[in-house]
Symmetry: C2
Subunit: 350 residues, 2 copies
Amino acid sequence: MYSERFTKLTPYVPGEQPQDRSYIKLNTNENPYAPAPGVAEVLQAYDAETLRRYPDPNAEALCHLIADTHGLKREQVMVGNGSDEILSFVFFAFFDSARGPLLFPEHTYSFYPVYCDYYNIAYKKVPLNEDYSINIDGYVREKSCGLIIPNPNAPTGILLSLDSVTSLMERWPEDRVVVVDEAYVDFGGESAVSLIDRFPNLLVVRTFSKSYSLAGSRLGWAMGHADLIQALYAVKDSFNSYPVDTVTQKVGMAAMADRAWFDQTRGRVMVERERVSKALTALGWRVLPSAANFVFAGAPALDGKAVYEGLKAKGVLVRFFNKEGLTPFVRITIGTAEENTALLEAVASL
Amino acid sequence: MYSERFTKLTPYVPGEQPQDRSYIKLNTNENPYAPAPGVAEVLQAYDAETLRRYPDPNAEALCHLIADTHGLKREQVMVGNGSDEILSFVFFAFFDSARGPLLFPEHTYSFYPVYCDYYNIAYKKVPLNEDYSINIDGYVREKSCGLIIPNPNAPTGILLSLDSVTSLMERWPEDRVVVVDEAYVDFGGESAVSLIDRFPNLLVVRTFSKSYSLAGSRLGWAMGHADLIQALYAVKDSFNSYPVDTVTQKVGMAAMADRAWFDQTRGRVMVERERVSKALTALGWRVLPSAANFVFAGAPALDGKAVYEGLKAKGVLVRFFNKEGLTPFVRITIGTAEENTALLEAVASL
């Protein structure tokens, strides 16, 4: 009944999404603040009749806004149904085992090996440094068909400096694509988008899910050389011509247009992240230095699973990872000030 | 720079979507009527703050409503980002060349060979009968990994009776999946959904784009045995865990819940289809018998391309197909009564 390729799948398992709203939900790196007020206005004023028409298949207006916002040309931008879909198209277009395995960090976004299984791409995990940071040299010396790194990395939250990314690109073969997955970059990282004109093999992937508070809308984008973007369009048009619905195109534009809201909300998240990090450290926890909207932290006497269970019993959801090297830690999303205070109280009473 | 598989793509080309709204747009089989009034209400009353959360990854509420509407169990239903995405998952899960080529009609939805290229699936086109109807016997005698047919077929609009589909299923190997793509079935066809409990290898695919007037929302679904649906979920979770955004889940529910609106609008389309068919016939055209929201018709002295160009010059967009066997025809979407009258006037003056 099933295809051969189907039998090789190991699906991704997303974080819990309990329908029980009584939990303080700090487990899936969602933004604690609402999207920009313009999003509500778009929905309220929406002309539902227009939904009978197909969307603009290439979301021209949205892509122009993204390009303008990042100082790029229109043809250097493409959008998709969440950065997950963009990443899937990227894996299809640029990575195959004939030229060597795909490289990514040993501990990173766990969807990467899933895409590899989906498209039958061999991969090789490159160990992190002892402090859990990404080891650039480890990638440069491997033969590969390409490389993908999140920056900041997940679930560690640790940032790679723009200088390090530049140094990587300078030492990387010109005919192999490097993807920098910047889902969390707006919470304190420096984007590699400034390197795009210099490195035609660099692709930067972003999402509206985190810093724009639109996880529910499923919207992500890619930025890179026009040739790479054109390839992604060809993949899109071989999979689903209209991946982004009409409402989401307008919602995304409203969110990106409001720079003040964006800066205010991400600013609050960063302030709270420092407060949570300090408070956990004061309680004896090991807290990795985070540039994301979460912290990766280990309690002094309990492993991650025990912390997860203890906090869940107190009404706070966090995420633990049942993987060698990560078991001492939990990943805690930064919530509102009230949520973070409740978290810290729950932690103190563990 | 590119993967080997990328070099094999031949992307799908969707119909024109001109931003110039002055055209009477009868080229992409969109519904001429607005979606149910409940859709506008959902958007207007939408709590934008909820968009900061990820959607329900499996759209439970929507799937329950679809199951209830079709007399199925929840586990026999799955939704996706348009039926195009659902179809892509279906091709991944069930078809591979190791067991023979995939079969589909010679003239049919032109995305099918594109999916085959995407997943490297060999395919074989089975000729239509002389009257352009689907020839069941032609499929049964071929060795294959599976079969996909739209019912009604596109671009012909011709329906296969439920008896014919049943007869096909009775003669089809139990370990090969048959997909009936019912994008247009609500405009006069009999659904194969009633056969699902009898044939565990039957999968029925539907869309909100046509009869529910939600092409702009990108929403489709599959119905079949729980085992087939479970396989599609595994594929979904290996590609994009959250393919359907929160707004679209609610919009789809509002559309499906309003049975009166659904029956009224599709009823009007069917009445107009008969009027357009008769009028074209009276003008000497050959009109294939349609059970869809379009007609496939050929002018007495002009080929399809000439008709397309002549009508476009008069402000009416239709679609022609530059493929052997289809060049005499154009595909004309059924619009509002006013649009159809304008079409017929333009046709008369060609």
